[in-house]
């Protein structure tokens, strides 16, 4: 038999404990599939004494997790600590410098430092893998990097944040307001005490930027993800969308455009947006409810591919981490971003004004004569053509006006919003959501 593949595990939160449980529970199966034993040799976490429901006594303990990179009895370092910088990044650098392969579930670190780390891993000839960083248990990195590798990818998009999807689909099912559903999700542990990473689209942006690099062969560019969250969505928006044949989902969406300026050389224009979209009810993403994640890749030969499953949780995340470990045990290393970092195209952010599509605009307006005329005039003056409009009279509060535009340029919608900016008729800034093109 081949030698065991020896693992050091940094971080023993729910996912770390899940990885230990998985490796213990499925030990025989892993050996059969990997062709060699997967053996944890060393572990590290902040608090040695904490009860994690797993027996740590078989494994060497390191108080300083970064020391694991130097151990002779370790082939692969698995980082499950989190944080884009700090000890996680130090550990990653040291592991690779010591010629050890590196597996992580840390989307923030990959989004911020993935290219630099991948460059170091490629130079060292070791693996750097991060399946668990995107969409939890769903093998979407593998799906893009290998399964869809024969295709030019036209768009990649999906539901990348389970917390937001849980909140939106619960609002849909119950008619409850955002704040109430968020509070309930926090009480149940589905949302963090500080939920902004999730609900403002940052977490989805991390994942989107990683997927985009692999899908398009472009340099990872998290800084230029346009992220917008779900805080402003009202139960009334969900009801209006429903009446019009849509559901609302927070999607990450990316595609590339040719550079407009020949002087750009290899530079590719990369569009990356995290935004609540109106999704037609006959699109597969409209049926993705609760904390589930789903990713769509549209290839020029494959057509639409959909990958769906649990986007978080200890079991699914551990499943993705150990899939990476099995790949390494099988000798499948290869470039972390599918193409060597030196060959990825540099990017500039795509302009958005020329993008065409339908949009949903929702206004909260004061209840007085002439307001609808004012809205309609702004649309007309900006060149926005209205497909449907609903005005919903309220008792005391502001009046809600929701409209769906005909297909048109985003610049026109932006201009209409600008024209209305500062109008005393508006109680708050309009909410604009794009409608997912089939």
């Amino acid at each position: 038999m081949t030698e065991p593949l020896r693992i050091a595990l940094a971080g023993l939160g729910t996912v770390g404990a899940g990885v230990i449980r998985l490796i213990e529970t499925n030990a025989d199966l892993l050996t059969r599939r990997a062709g060699r034993e997967i053996r944890i040799t060393a572990v590290s976490a902040r608090d040695r004494g904490k009860d994690r429901g797993v027996d740590l006594s078989p494994y060497a303990w390191e108080d300083d997790m970064t020391a694991m990179a130097a151990r002779d009895d370790v082939d692969v370092v698995v980082e499950l600590v989190g944080g884009s910088d700090g000890p996680a990044l130090t550990l990653a650098r040291r592991a690779v410098a010591q010629g050890k392969s590196f597996v992580t579930a840390n989307k923030a670190m990959v989004a911020h430092h993935g290219l630099a780390l991948a460059r170091e891993a490629e130079a060292a000839g070791v693996a750097m893998k991060f399946e668990a960083a995107v969409a939890g248990g769903i093998p979407v990195i593998k799906g893009l990097r290998e399964g869809a590798a024969a295709n030019a990818i036209e768009r990649v998009y999906g539901i990348l944040n389970g917390t937001c999807n849980y909140i939106l689909s619960t609002m849909e099912d119950t008619g409850a307001d955002f704040a109430d559903v968020l509070a309930e999700a926090q009480a149940m542990g589905y949302a963090e005490a500080d939920p902004s990473f999730d609900i403002d689209g940052i977490d989805a942006g991390h994942k989107l930027s990683i997927m985009a690099s692999i899908a398009f062969g472009t340099e990872l560019d998290f800084a230029n993800v346009g992220a917008d969250g779900i805080r402003r969505i009202l139960s009334a928006d969900i009801a209006q969308a429903d009446a019009l044949g849509y559901v609302i989902r927070l999607l990450g969406m990316a595609n590339v455009e040719p550079a407009t300026d020949a002087a750009d050389g290899d530079t590719v224009r990369l569009f990356q947006r995290v935004h609540p979209f109106l999704v037609p009810k006959d699109h597969p993403l409209a049926h993705v409810d609760g904390a589930t994640n789903a990713v769509v890749a549209e290839g020029n030969f494959s057509g639409r591919l959909l990958f769906q499953g649990a986007g978080a949780g200890d079991g699914p995340t551990a499943s993705a981490v150990v899939a990476d470990i099995i790949d390494i045990a099988r000798g499948e290393i290869g470039a972390p971003f599918s193409i060597p970092v030196s060959e990825l195209n540099p990017t500039a952010p795509a302009q958005t004004g020329h993008r065409t599509g339908k949009a949903y605009l929702r206004f909260q307006v004061v209840d007085k004569p002439g307001v609808l005329a004012e809205l309609a005039a702004a649309m007309r003056d900006a060149g926005v053509s209205i497909e449907s409009l609903i005005q919903k009279g309220a008792g005391d509060g502001p009046v809600l006006v929701a409209m769906v535009t005909h297909e048109g340029e985003e610049a026109c919608v932006d201009k209409a919003v600008e024209l209305l900016s500062g109008s005393p008729s508006l109680v708050e800034a309009p909410l604009v959501m794009h409608i997912l093109k089939q």
Copy 2:
């Protein structure tokens, strides 16, 4: 740069021409992703003169496709001829014997001879890959073999035949009868002139047996797939299912059970069934319409994973074929069935009588007094408990009685059917469909 990977292509039907088009269209991308050029060197088909919409002049022509296995300028033989035996099998054997890797989309050949071929490929140290043999463009072989590799798979099931799914979802949308929709599908080229491979579940059975081997680490056993098709489904069945909260889908379903007899040693009881199921409307497979395929794998850590996309067609199939070629170019070879053939568990077919679940039974009965009592008595005597029942009076023809049972053993339903066998009250044998458990 590394040397090009040189491809011989046998079979130039729509898929073969699609592979040529893909390799030409995406040439630069493939070189970047594979790390080396993918170059077709030789092609073969029955009719050299036929216009296929692709220029064959850059490639050497072989009249005898099996001669391609011996060419010095070929590293990988791609077989797109079809047929479980005959020239396809000869070509596969010769390619492997000559130390060449082998890629195929031929599900019938893999289902019948996959283990023997894999054994030969493993002994020769070459790749044998067949992503395109299961679910067209969806990377489901990779998903099971690698993406879900960390998991004990509890069940694998899915919509594996696009023709059947097209027919069933069209019956659902239009209320038309099976024979009419089939005729229309044949006219449009969605169904073969002799449709029995598709509509009797043979094609889905091929795919299921391949997936089951990879998912469960068991010897491939197509001979013991219990296959039943969709010929007997009436539009009335679809309407009844709808009223009860279900849609009807032809699913392939597999799982393993521990061997009941200690004398069996490593033998695993393998359940494999292709059958029209009633699928609850809140299950993701209920929303898979038209010719789309979808596969669900339920892992003990990942939970439910869903892979969805186009199950056939030249573009999607070519996408899967070339993904396999890219894997080979990247040096990712490994055991075709994930585990070396010598280590796969032998199987015996699982018994089905002890399986529990709900079932849908539909009877066409003569319109006379006492028939319902006769049906109800048979259910009672067989120990089948009825959850709901609809009797639909017709004008002249037979009366339709449809019922859904409570959860119970399949043996009881079988017994009820047996008790009614030969009854003059029945116009035809009852139709039994199982209900998919969530």
